[in-house]
Symmetry: C2
Subunit: 245 residues, 2 copies
Amino acid sequence: MRCDVILVPAELPEGAAEGKAVAVIDVLRATTSMVAALDAGARDVVPTASVEEATRLAETLGREHIVLCGERDGQKINGFDLGNSPSEFTAAAVQGKTLVMATTNGTTMFNRVKPSSAVCVACVNNARAAAQALAATGQDILLVCSGKLGRFSLEDAVGAGMVASYLAELAPQAEFTDGALLAQALYQKYRKNLLRALKAAEHGRYLAGLGYKADLAYAAQENITATVPMLRDGRMVRPESAAGA
Amino acid sequence: MRCDVILVPAELPEGAAEGKAVAVIDVLRATTSMVAALDAGARDVVPTASVEEATRLAETLGREHIVLCGERDGQKINGFDLGNSPSEFTAAAVQGKTLVMATTNGTTMFNRVKPSSAVCVACVNNARAAAQALAATGQDILLVCSGKLGRFSLEDAVGAGMVASYLAELAPQAEFTDGALLAQALYQKYRKNLLRALKAAEHGRYLAGLGYKADLAYAAQENITATVPMLRDGRMVRPESAAGA
């Protein structure tokens, strides 16, 4: 088994994810919010690459049947039901619903990793469970950091390092690429206080400035859930639903 | 002052280097070899983006006046005088000569950083001196890792982290981006034994397999020189020559 970490989207050439088990990571906040939404009872989450795609899809599926959520520059999109803060994804807001989600970095990655054998979502909240799900596939593993407008982001690399560190325990014989070694080193540096990494990160500081400080504390919670959303027919679903699909 | 680290070439959009002081880093082995070549008495080193550009330039300048050097897949290029091993850049081979150098990753970066206010070359061998030269410009600083065919490489990030750590001492008020924080964390992990990082790196393992183990040991030597090659009119020269230009 080989474990690779994609630090910025441009490191992932077309088709490179083929036949691999992929985890998309966007700690602040898309993948953290997706996990929160499914844990709060959402039926599924459809990640879209743009606001336009999200609104078009909402019309197709029937606006009343879906919850439109997402952000631009960290803020809720005009006319959308929810933004991208995990605290918004309460049972009252999402239970039994299909969410259509448009975020700047995280949701746009899903199109690029479609040729993979399996795509899941990871964050600090579900890192151990994500590592177990990935290892169980027996495939080579690709941890994909969403980054920030094409640039590297600290919090995603810390999240990838956390998953990679669990993988190193689960599969000690696995080969770790330079990116995977780097992510693990970064996680080791911050592991005693992951919130410190989120607060040091550029996007963490930006979100705190917008008043989303509580989102950083939420996103820094380790292994609070075993939910690992899986991509099935363009939708992120809970694994039990995935198995039944 | 802001200190940013570009982890992979694609993180550097067109024009992003404008007005900044840039250090290009390719620890294994282009920038290590450039520093070695100038220390061995080479007149200057012309980095080229391709083998074709290098051979064309050799014809223009007169094949007998220049030393053609470089690698493809780590090996000396057919018909070239030297490869890309720092041990080849002896006084006997390069003193007083103009070197035209074509490497896979390192030399191709120079075209992309041309709009910078100052471009120098850094590696483990000259990291402290490079940090001092960069800090002295008073400009925002960009440490550019050459990587490996567009992918992240561990040894370049360790080198960038070493330079960034010296910059943090020289300019404690400087702002460090996510990439710069990451590189510093990586350097901290390996600082007690940088050779360990080079041996763990994919390209280090590849070169060792080709028989270039001694190059890893050479490249891992910290601050053995104060030579910081500077780009002037498309050529890397020693700073004293640069000042006179």
